[in-house]
């Protein structure tokens, strides 16, 4: 009666329920966010994206300052993290002795698991004083004529502090994906170049990197996704002022930081809350798009390995 066939169907049924409930929670969350941001979308339209002023008492809401802050932190963090990640990935895969490779790989993966608030605290304790006492005075003395490098307040907090710490947070993702992509380059392809009398550097430049490039793009995009949404570390470091940052050393604000700081007050006024939920919607849309693009690239390159390890099953 209760034979294997039925048992199988039962398992399938139960598992489907699990899967469906996860999917529906996600869809409900999206629906709720759309629902609550609707009043602000209607009232402010596209001007929400380019108005600079964020003034809850006057009910003037424009996201430009947060968009600019988010963009700058993300861009700078990638700019700092990418060269180092490439270096680390290439070193681990191509030059590191085998017994050290395992140890370094574990250390880098552990770095990825450190909670972001810990990174934030570390940034406040080390990066901020360093910027305030060494870097900012130096730039103030030598580069004060360049607007983008102008030091306005010399407090250490600001765009640069946040970007440096976020760079450390995305470094493990990008470097371990760089390493994995290089690892998946077929040995025989590299041998072909070596046999022609190529140096190891030639091989990396002309064979390994072109092979691994798509995977590395995927890693960069995942790093981008993490940088865009990073919250706690940024709250602690960016200075939290709704201005469009004009310099590397300016204070600023990001979408995620303003939500973390003010959403509890915002719920008092429906339109204020709605404007903040619209910020969340923008963030959600950006990170979703970026993750989908990144994963697609990675799947093509490392045959879905990444996806599986993330979601526990094909």
């Amino acid at each position: 009666m209760f034979n294997l066939k039925y048992k199988d169907d039962l398992y399938k049924f139960i598992l489907s329920i699990f899967v469906l409930s996860v999917i529906s929670v996600f869809l409900i969350a999206v629906a709720v966010i759309l629902f609550y941001s609707y009043p602000a979308i209607i009232r402010y339209g596209f001007s929400f994206l380019w108005v600079k002023e964020w003034n809850p008492p006057k009910e003037v809401f424009g996201a430009l300052t947060f968009l600019a802050g988010t963009f700058m932190v993300t861009f700078l963090a990638l700019l700092f993290a990418i060269p180092f990640s490439f270096g680390i990935g290439i070193f681990l895969q191509e030059y590191c002795p085998l017994f050290l490779r395992g140890i370094f790989t574990v250390i880098i993966e552990m770095l990825a698991g450190i909670p972001s608030v810990v990174f934030g605290v570390w940034g406040v304790l080390t990066i901020v004083p360093w910027l305030r006492e060494s870097v900012e005075p130096f730039f103030d003395r030598h580069f004060s004529s360049i607007p983008f490098l102008k030091v306005e307040e010399n407090i250490g907090y600001g765009i640069l502090a946040a970007s440096i710490v976020v760079a450390f947070m995305i470094l493990p993702i990008i470097s371990s994906i760089t390493k994995d992509s290089l690892e998946s380059v077929p040995k025989i392809a590299k041998d072909g170049a070596l046999a022609m009398g190529a140096t190891r550097l030639d091989v990396i430049k002309d064979v390994s990197l072109p092979y691994a490039l798509n995977g590395i793009y995927g890693g960069i995009i995942l790093g981008f996704g993490r940088a865009v949404g990073e919250t706690i570390a940024v709250v602690l470091l960016i200075g939290n002022q709704a201005i469009v940052p004009k310099s590397l050393f300016s204070v600023g604000y990001t979408i995620s930081a303003v939500l973390a700081n003010t959403f509890t007050f915002a719920v008092i006024s429906p339109i204020y809350a709605s404007a903040e939920v619209e910020l969340a919607l923008i963030l959600l849309a950006v990170s979703l798009i970026i993750n989908i693009v990144g994963r697609n690239i990675l799947n093509k390159v490392i045959g879905g390995r990444f996806n599986r390890s993330q979601f526990g099953g094909g």
Binding site: L98, P186, I188, A189, D191, G192, A193, L194, A195, M196, G197, A198, T199, D202, D206, V207, P210, Y211
Partner: protein, 254 residues
């Protein structure tokens, strides 16, 4: 024994280990200038590994260890003073499966010339065309030289790799089953090419095809479990093998 100055590659007491696994056991043989030598033997007997000892491709293999000597033009290539990169520039190699670079068809062949420091564009273009013709590939690819090499079929890729290996004019050509991926027509082009090319090169080929080997060889060697069982002129090797095991193999009993 051949005259000393006719010998291009001389292998003396060569032993090769993968970790504790003693794969190649005391190999002694030589390859004469402008000759074609085929190496035969069942799968896993160490033919590819042996071929790779001749241009030190096992250098980066984890746990690989080697004793003995490989003399090329009288000089031991395992000597400390030898520059491996320099050594390999003089030796072309074709692998068991096609391994084009992630580049255009043109750049695959130009790659060797470029890393050898040749910059003259006209010379490179001429050389690319010539090598593609030698490998019997030119007519098939002349309109898409700047397309990715991965857009070619497996057999075309292998011929591209052969063209690539001869582009830099090496004096030794190592080929690991160069025709395994080819249809009979293109295999035949390659076999003819090999026969023509021994004028310029010393050619060493691993083969699984006894008939093909018989057609092109001047010398032949038979490996079994990492030992060189027999090595002789092709005439003797294929018609009057001295060892029973060689005879069994060439009459296809392995």
């Amino acid at each position: 024994m051949a005259e000393q100055d006719e010998i291009k590659v001389n292998v003396k007491n060569l032993n090769f280990y993968y970790g504790n696994y003693h794969l190649l056991k005391n190999i002694n043989l030589y390859f004469k200038k402008n000759s074609v030598c085929t190496l035969l033997g069942p799968s896993g007997c160490g033919k590819s590994t042996f071929l790779r000892t001749l241009n030190r491709m096992n250098d980066y293999t984890e746990g690989a260890k080697l004793t003995g000597e490989v003399l090329i033009d009288g000089k031991n290539i395992y000597d400390k003073s030898v520059d491996v990169v320099e050594l390999r520039r003089n030796i072309g190699m074709v692998f068991q499966s096609p391994n084009p670079f992630p580049k255009s068809i043109f750049d695959n062949i130009a790659f060797g010339l470029k890393i050898h420091g040749i910059k003259n564009r006209e010379f490179i273009a001429e050389r690319v065309e010539k090598c593609l013709r030698y490998a019997g590939l030119y007519d098939e690819v002349k309109d898409k030289l700047h397309k990715s090499a991965f857009s070619l079929s497996g057999g075309q890729q292998q011929r591209l790799c052969i063209a690539r290996a001869i582009a830099t004019n090496p004096s030794i050509l190592l080929m690991d089953e160069p025709t395994a991926y080819l249809d009979p027509a293109s295999a035949s082009i390659i076999l003819d090419l090999i026969t023509t090319f021994k004028k310029y090169y010393t050619i060493i080929i691993v083969s699984h095809n006894i008939q093909q080997a018989g057609r092109i060889s001047d010398y032949s060697g038979f490996f079994l479990d990492g030992e060189l069982i027999e090595f002789d002129e092709a005439g003797n090797f294929f018609t009057r093998p001295k060892d029973k095991r060689t005879e069994n193999f060439i009459t296809s009993r392995y």
